[in-house]
Amino acid sequence: MKINHKIIFKVSVILAAVLVALLVGAIMILATGESVFKTYSIIITMPFSNFRTFSEVLVRMIPLTIIALGICVSSRCGINNIGAEGQMAMGIIATTAVAFVVAPLPRFIAIPIAVLVGAIAGGIWGFIPGILKAKLDVSELLSTVMLNYAAAQFYAFMIRVPLIDPNEKTGTPMSARLPESTVLHKLFKGAAVHQGIFLALVLALIVYILLWKTSWGYKMRASGARQRAAKYGGINVSKYLIIAMIISGACAGMAGSVELMGNQGRAMEGITGGYGFSGIVVALFGGLHPAGIIPAAFFFGILLYAQVNLQILTSVPPNLVEALQGLIILIIVAVQMILSNQYLEEKFRKKFFSKKEA
């Protein structure tokens, strides 16, 4: 019973937050002169109108979930990774480069290697701020953001010079199409969703087991929850900080690999497309728990897909959806304050649950 009312409290606060965001969003839509009802019904009903549109949401959910799982590990260990965008870019570049090397191999070998290399590249990009934080106490906020810029520049260089598509004569900065042996197949004909979704689901399970069922995860969570107590308890906090950042970066790198191999087919400009930042929001929105991250990623998948539809079907600028995302971030911060307030929770319990418990 006790656990029950807590969950209901949390869910209702989150739903209330979504409602507030939608209301404020409605004001913005009105300002553009478009119909609020029409806009929202496009956002909400389009994804469910047929399987093709539904799979458009799923395909966006894949990188969001994988990145958010990584964020979940680092945040639980007490380090804020806002460098997923850069780590994802490094994953894409590394996977692209290696894809052409492993192309002659059979699929079931080539694909794991390509994903693994993406994970390693992202992991290295996560390791740098991790070790800087652990050894020199450099703020991870600073180092991860700076490494995002570094990764973006490196990415731009790679697709312009070394990896540029040799058959493309116009000089468009993009790599050649990935060889067939490294492409993740679509699950259904005519639908965008690809095999990467299995990786996302398996990773969710792995992250859950890691954090809550193993001593490593226990130590990470203890370090994140109260570093001083963790040190007192003999936990090597620096070591776990670094490990958590490597895992976090590796997840972002894998998200890049999977997005590349399953959806885009080649490295070009703008693949990361803000997934690294949306992933942070998804992780927070999902309560830093895999079981919350999956539905949160689905919700954000709907929002991202809405950007495309609104552009086609209405006069609402797609940036508005981004503004809506920003709003939701703000509201999440407020919601977390509310959720951590035991007093409000108690009031809520009294109001809605006192009869049952009495």
Binding site: K213, T214, S215, W216, Y218, K219, R221, A222, A225, R226, R228, A229, A230, K231, Y232, G233, G234, I235, N236, Q342, Y343, E345, E346
Partner: protein
């Protein structure tokens, strides 16, 4: 209007205050008259501080009302209380360390703020107050330069400068040396000729020495109201806990065991970079409790952290069962068999957001409670439940966040974990600070049992009574040096007090 009214009587009637899950004050009624001193006594969590915060307007009572001179008042903020001349000195001093005494006091005196702060009028006011009450303060000293006792005087002067005629003191002696405590009591005694005072205390001899009336709170209720003179300290103690208190004490034979912890010429830096320990020496034998007395801030924290590998040492040796352990990692020291009850039980001894169950395995998540790094959940739950019962940890179950427990129960979680790991030695820092007598007694018994099993214990404390009751030998720390080591039988409060203040008869 109210500032000039003299408070003839402050009366609380049927005050009730609820917090989530807790009834902090339950139908409390009491009154304090002009020039009276009321001692408010009670175990921790009895609701004393909450009640005083209601009087100050920091909290609003859910039910009940407050009367001044028979007139109903309700304070929405401390400013309303100041307006009636009620001032409070909190347990934690509210001073800005890198400002002078004068500046600190001027901060509170808003009528001295014009375009610039009128410091000279504040200075005059300080001089008036300190002359009048005999409270000596140096207005130009920086607060960080002052001892705890001096800081407290500044707090008192600050409160009086604001025009307080009615003082509330929350555990005013908890951080003072015995000598400072005696001085304070004389001072307050004199002040009570002109002021009314409510003071909160755990220490019954102070209650006896200072107060006219005593109110005892238990679980948020007033269980006793009476004139102090009519009751003995032990009668008050019994009323406070609800049962006769037997004070645990160490009467056993002295150990003839070997030296297990030897500290030689230890030098350790504090966070601020000076030598907190400066050539410190100490030995502890097997099956012996060595009490280390001293005013906090003389290197105790650094000593405990250095022994447990949390703080690096500069020079000197820490020899534990024949092996040098200085500058090992915390985990390295734990593996040698060291147990540690840290000073900050809420933030260091436990991970507050984690459950009791998870806190119990803090030091063993990779040991007996996992195989191949997979946690053995069933076993952990069983073990935690057993400890919860055998250590009398009062909580609904083992899944509640440890940080939500009371101080005494948090301490029991820590002790359960540390003692049940069968340590070879235990470093124990302020184990009963802020705990009620029931919990303190329980913890002291645990420590004595452990000693009788042959475990050496270094007991760092500022409570002389605790040190004298439990220790086999007593050392006194002052400015990072061991002043003197003596047999517990030779020790008296006076002797220790003098050593704690830095006077060494052998100098």
């Amino acid at each position: 209007m109210p500032n000039n009214t003299v408070i003839e009587e402050l009366r609380l009637e049927h005050i009730t205050k609820r917090f989530p899950g807790v009834l902090a004050c339950d139908d409390i009624s009491l009154s304090v008259g002009k020039h009276e001193v009321l001692a408010l006594v009670g175990e921790n969590g009895a609701g004393k501080t909450t009640l005083m915060n209601i009087v100050m307007g920091l909290y609003q009572a859910d039910e009940g009302s407050m009367f001044i001179n028979g007139e109903k008042v309700s304070f929405k903020s401390p400013n309303d209380a100041f307006a009636y001349g009620i001032g409070m000195v909190h347990q934690q001093y509210m001073l800005v360390p890198n400002m002078t005494v004068l500046e600190n006091i001027a901060l509170g005196m808003k009528d001295s703020w014009h375009f610039t702060v009128d410091l000279s009028s504040v200075r005059k006011r300080i001089e008036e107050i300190s002359d009048h009450y005999g409270l000596k303060v140096d207005p130009d000293a920086f607060v960080w330069q002052l001892s705890v006792g001096e800081q407290q005087r500044v707090e008192l002067v600050k409160t009086l400068c604001l025009g307080a005629k009615f003082l509330i003191l929350d555990e005013p002696t908890s951080a003072l040396t015995p000598q400072e405590t005696d001085e304070l009591i004389v001072l307050l005694k004199n002040m009570s000729r002109e002021l009314s005072i409510i003071f909160i205390s755990h220490k019954l001899n102070e209650v006896k020495a200072l107060s006219d009336k005593v109110s005892i709170l238990r679980h948020g209720r007033v269980v006793f109201n009476g004139r102090t003179a009519d009751y003995s300290p032990s009668e008050i103690a019994a009323l406070m806990t609800g049962h006769e208190v037997e004070i645990a004490s160490n009467n056993s034979e002295k150990t003839k065991g070997k030296d297990v912890l030897v500290i030689e010429n230890l030098v350790v830096k504090s966070d601020r970079g000076f030598n907190a320990l400066d050539g410190f020496n100490l030995t502890v034998k097997e099956g012996e409790i060595v009490g280390l007395a001293g005013v906090s801030g003389n290197g105790q924290r650094e000593l405990a952290e250095a022994i447990n590998g949390i703080r690096k040492t500069e020079s000197g040796k820490i020899i534990f069962y024949g092996e040098e352990i200085q500058n090992l990692t915390p985990n390295g020291v734990i593996k040698k068999g060291m147990g540690y009850i840290p000073e900050e039980r809420n933030t260091e001894g436990i991970v507050p957001s984690m459950s009791i169950k998870e806190n119990i395995i803090l030091k063993d998540s990779d040991g007996r409670f996992s195989s191949h790094h997979i946690l053995k959940n069933k076993e952990i739950e069983k073990y935690a439940s057993t400890l919860r019962e055998s250590y009398d940890i009062r909580s609904p179950h083992i899944f509640v966040a440890a940080g939500s427990l009371s101080g005494g129960n948090i301490q029991k979680v820590i002790l359960a974990r540390e003692i049940d790991r069968n340590p070879k030695f235990l470093v124990c820092v302020y184990p009963i600070r802020g705990l009620d007598m029931g919990a303190a007694e329980f913890i002291h018994r645990l420590l004595l049992d452990l000693r009788n099993k042959g475990v050496g214990i270094l007991l760092i404390s500022e409570e002389l009574e605790e040190i004298m009751n439990l220790s086999d030998r007593i050392a006194v720390i002052f400015k990072g040096k061991n002043q003197k080591m003596m047999d517990a039988k030779e020790a008296t409060t006076d002797k220790l007090g003098i050593l704690m203040a830095g006077v060494n008869d052998e100098d």
